[in-house]
Amino acid sequence: MSQESSHGVSAPRKDPIARKDLLALDLCGEHGDDGGGGLHFVHDATRVGSAMTSATDTMVSASPRHRLPTASSWTLMIAVLVAVLALMPLGFVLWATVVTGWETAIQLIFRGRVGDLLINTVLLILLTLPVCAALAVALAWATERTDIPGARFWSWMAVAPLTVPAFVHSYAWIGLWPGLNGLGAGVAVSVVAYFPFMYLPVSAAFRLLDPALEDQAASLGLAPFAVFRRVVLPQLRLALCGGALLIGLHLLAEYGLFAMIRFDTFTTAIIDQFQSTYNGVAAYMLALVLVLCCFVLLGLEAALRGRSRYARLGSGVARRAKVARLGAWKYPLLILPLVTAAFSLGIPALTLGRWLIAGGAGIWRMEEIGLALWQTLAICLVGGLTTTAAAVPIAWLSVRRPTRASRFLEGCYYLASSMPGVVVALALVTITVRAILPLYQTVATIVLAYVVMFLPRALVSLRASIAQVPVELEQAAASLGRSPGNALWSTTVRLAAPGAAAGVALSSLGIMNELTATQMLAPNGTRTLAMAFWALTSEIDYAGAAPYALLMVVFSMPLTWLLHHQSKKIAGR
C-alpha cells in the first residue's frame, strides 16, 4: 500500500542485432544496486533481457567521456581486430559465393536438393515455433500466475530440459522408438529440447508485468480472458520474439538432433557434403543459403519486435501479481506440466537409465572416459578463458567509452555469433587449409571458432560487472597517482572479476556441449565427451554412449541452475 518512490525506470535500448545466446541473454540482469528498486543494467543486445526487464542502460550513458587517448585507442584496436576475426566466417561465405561465380552459384542454389532442404527447414521452423510458444506461455502462466500445486517445482522442471543436450534428447527418443524419423519426429524432439528457451523469457516477463495494467483493463470492462488477450499477450510479445529467434537459430544450427532421426536440414546436408566428398563449392552454397535463412530470421524478428516500448511507465515498485485461484481446475491443470516433464525429462531419464543398467559396469571404460573428460575440460577451460579475454576490450569500451563505433562493434560480435557452428567451422577449415595450413586442426583454430560462437556469453557477464564498478573508483585511483592502466587494473578489473568468472563458466559450458564445429575442427586425436558420444551412437553402441551423455547432463546442471536463478534475479525476486 505504501507508495515507494523509486524512480528511474525507463525503456530498454533498442538493439539492431540479434544473437542466439540465451545463456548470455539471461545473465544480463545483474543488479547495479538493489536500493534503487530497479535494475540498472541490461545489455542492449539482449532482447530476451530487454523483454524481461524494464531496466535501462543509464550506467553506460552516465559515464563521462574523459579522454584516455592511449588506453582507449589500444583497446579499440584490439576490439576491432577481434571483430574482424569474428566476422571472418560470414565474410568467407560471401567471398566464396563471389569466387564461385554467378552461374555456378545459381546452378548450385536453384536445384531440387536445396528446395527440399528449404521446405524441410521452413516447415520445421513453422511447426516448432508455435508449439513452443503455446507451451511456454501455458506453462509460464501456470507456474507464475496460478496456485497450481508445486509451482516452483514445475518452474524448475520447465527449465531442466536444458541440461540435456539437444542430440541427447533425440538419442533418448530413438532409444524408445527406434523407427523415429522425419519432420514429425524433428518437430517433437525440437519442441522438448528447446521450449525452455521460450519459457525462461516468458515466465520472467510474466513476473515483470505490472498487474496494475490488468486491474486497469478490468476496470475498463474487460473480462479476464479479454484482459489476457488484449493486455498480457501483447506485453509478452518481446519475450516471445526473443525466444522464437533463439529457437529458430538453434534449429538452423543444430546437427546432432536431426542427424540422429535422419531429418535433413541445411546443417546436416553441409556436414554430409563435407564428410563424404569434400565438395567445396556445393557446401559453400548450402552454407550461403543457411546464412540467408539466419538473416531472414533476424530480419523477421526485428520487424515483429518493432520499436515500441514495453517498459512499465510509472514510477515506483510494481505490486506483485495476483495468483489465479484454480479451484476445481487445480488437478486437471497439473496434466500440462506433468506431460511436458514426462516427454522432456522422463524420456531422457528412462533411456539413459535403461542403457546404463543394461550396460552395467562394462560401459564405464574409465580410461577412455577419463581421457575424454580431461580433454573436454582442458578445451573448455582454454576456450572459455580465451573467449572471455577476447571480450574484455569491447566490454570495457561499451561501458566506459560508449560511442557509435563501440555499439557497431558489439553488433558485429552478435551477428557473428548468430552464424551456425557449421558455417563457422566450414569457413575456418577452408581458410586454414588454403591459406595457413599449419593452423589446420590446431587448438588455435578451434578456439577461434569458440570465440566467434560464444563471445557474447562472456561479453554480457563482463559488461554487467564492469558497469557495476563506478568509474569514480578508477578516477580516485588516478588521483592517488596510479597510471591509467594501473588504475584500471587495481579497481575495475579487480572488482569485475566475478563477472569474468561467470563469463568463463558460461562459455566453457557452451563449448562442452558443442558438437558440430568441434567435430569439424578438433585436432587429430581429440575426443571430447560430445564427440565420443556421437561416435558411439553412430556405431549404434547406445549403451556405450550413455556414460558420456550422463556426464554432459551432470556438467550442464550448474549452468541451468545459473540461468534459472538469473532469470529470477532479473525480475528482482
Partner: protein, 346 residues
C-alpha cells in the same frame, strides 16, 4: 441520495488488518477525499471498491446493488467504476487513441471520434492521439488516463493519488482541470491521497484515515477546524495544542483566557489552535495589550516567513511561522493575540 455505501469493511493481509471496519457513504455527485499517511489502508480501500481485491468482511453497495460482501464478489469488469491510478497506468503497447478507446464497445470510427472529443474535454491536443504513452509528460499521461476512464461514462470515478507523481506546479493545475472535468460530467468521485492540502481543496467530504480506520469524516472545514484528536489535527496541518482548564465557554490556558468552541464542557482538556489564529506583536509598543506575553527563543529567516519558537512563562513552547516583514530577533518579548475560538479535544 447515497451512491456508494461501505459498511464495516474489513481486509487483512496475513495478520495485519489493512482495513478494520470502515464505514462511509458517498452521496451521488459529490467529491469525497480519503486522506491518510502511507500505509494507512487507503489504497486497499480503493482496490476493494474497484473490485481488484475481495473484502474479508463487510459490504460494498453501489447504487442500491451489493458489489461485495463476505460471500459474493462482483468482478471488476462488471462494476462500471472508473479508476485513474497513481502513475496513469496507460497501456504501453497502445497509442493514446487506442488507450482511450480501450474500454469502449463501438466501431473504430466511433471510438476515434469519441477519443478526440475526450482529448478536448481533458484539455489535450488532438495531435497527441497517435503518440505512444512514453512520448507524453506525466501530467499528459494522467489526463489521458482520465479520458480513458471517462470514455466508459462511469457513475463513480476512483482517483488513486493521481497527482502525486507530478511536480508541484503541474499538480495544482492538473487537479483543477480534473476537478472541473468531473464536475462538468456530474461524476461522483472518490479521491485517495496522502496530501492533506489536496484533500481539503478537492473534496466536499473528507475522511481522515489512520491504521485501517476512519478517524473522522466530515466537511473539509469541519475536519480542519474541529478535528477529533491531536493526531488528526496535526495530520491536517500545523496545530498548537495546549493544556487548559475549561468552563463556561472559556479556557484558561498558557495563552491566557480563550474562547472555546465547546460551551458545555467543564474540566481539564487539551485545546487546539491553528497558527493562522495567532498574531504576534512586539511587547511594550501598544501599551497594555490583551493576550499572553512570550519570548522568542529561536528564529530562522525563511524568506516570506520566519520560523520561530516561542516560549511561554510556564516554560512550555510552540513553534510558529510568522510573516518576516517585522524584524524580530531571539530574546525579544512578544504579545500573542488569538482570534476565533480554540477547539477542545474532549
Amino acid at each position: 441520495m447515497t451512491l456508494l455505501q461501505l459498511t464495516s469493511l474489513r481486509k487483512n493481509y496475513g495478520s495485519v488488518a489493512a482495513l478494520d471496519g470502515v464505514a462511509l457513504s458517498v452521496p451521488a455527485g459529490s467529491r469525497t477525499a480519503i486522506v491518510g499517511p502511507s500505509g494507512c489502508g487507503k489504497t486497499t480501500l480503493l482496490r476493494l471498491v474497484a473490485g481488484f481485491d475481495e473484502p474479508d468482511g463487510g459490504t460494498i453497495s453501489f447504487d442500491g446493488q451489493v458489489l461485495a460482501d463476505g460471500t459474493f464478489q462482483m468482478p471488476a469488469h462488471k462494476r462500471g467504476i472508473g479508476i485513474v491510478a497513481q502513475d496513469g497506468c496507460l497501456f504501453p503497447h497502445l497509442t493514446v487513441s487506442q488507450n482511450i478507446g480501450f474500454g469502449m464497445e463501438a466501431g473504430r470510427a466511433v471510438k476515434e471520434a469519441r477519443a478526440a472529443e475526450l482529448m478536448d474535454m481533458v484539455g489535450l491536443d488532438r495531435a497527441m492521439l497517435s503518440r505512444k504513452p512514453d512520448q507524453l509528460s506525466g501530467g499528459q499521461q494522467q489526463r489521458v488516463a482520465l479520458a480513458r476512464a471517462l470514455a466508459r461514462k462511469p457513475r463513480l470515478m476512483l482517483l488513486d493519488e493521481p497527482f502525486s507523481a507530478l511536480d508541484t506546479g503541474l499538480r495544482a493545475a492538473t487537479r483543477k482541470a480534473v476537478t472541473e472535468v468531473l464536475t462538468a460530467a456530474g461524476i461522483t468521485t472518490l479521491l485517495v491521497t496522502h496530501d492533506q492540502g489536496e484533500a481539503l481543496a478537492f473534496a466536499d467530504q473528507v475522511a481522515v484515515m489512520r491504521a485501517g480506520r476512519f478517524a473522522q469524516v466530515g466537511s473539509p472545514r469541519d475536519v480542519y477546524s474541529r478535528p477529533v484528536d491531536a493526531t488528526t489535527a496535526t495530520f491536517l496541518g500545523e496545530a498548537i495544542v495546549l493544556p487548559a482548564t475549561i468552563g463556561e465557554g472559556r479556557a484558561d490556558s498558557p495563552l491566557g483566557l480563550l474562547d472555546v468552541d465547546d460551551v458545555a464542557y467543564r474540566g481539564r482538556a487539551a485545546i487546539m489552535l491553528r497558527p493562522e489564529q495567532i498574531s504576534v506583536t512586539r511587547e511594550g509598543r501598544g501599551g497594555v495589550g490583551e493576550g499572553a506575553v512570550g519570548t522568542i527563543a529561536e528564529i530562522t529567516f525563511c524568506g516570506p516567513t520566519c520560523d520561530v519558537r516561542i516560549t511561554l512563562p510556564d516554560a512550555s513552547s510552540f513553534r510558529l511561522d510568522i510573516p518576516s516583514r517585522e524584524a524580530f530577533s531571539a530574546g525579544d518579548e512578544i504579545r500573542i493575540g488569538v482570534s476565533g475560538a480554540a477547539h477542545v479535544f474532549r
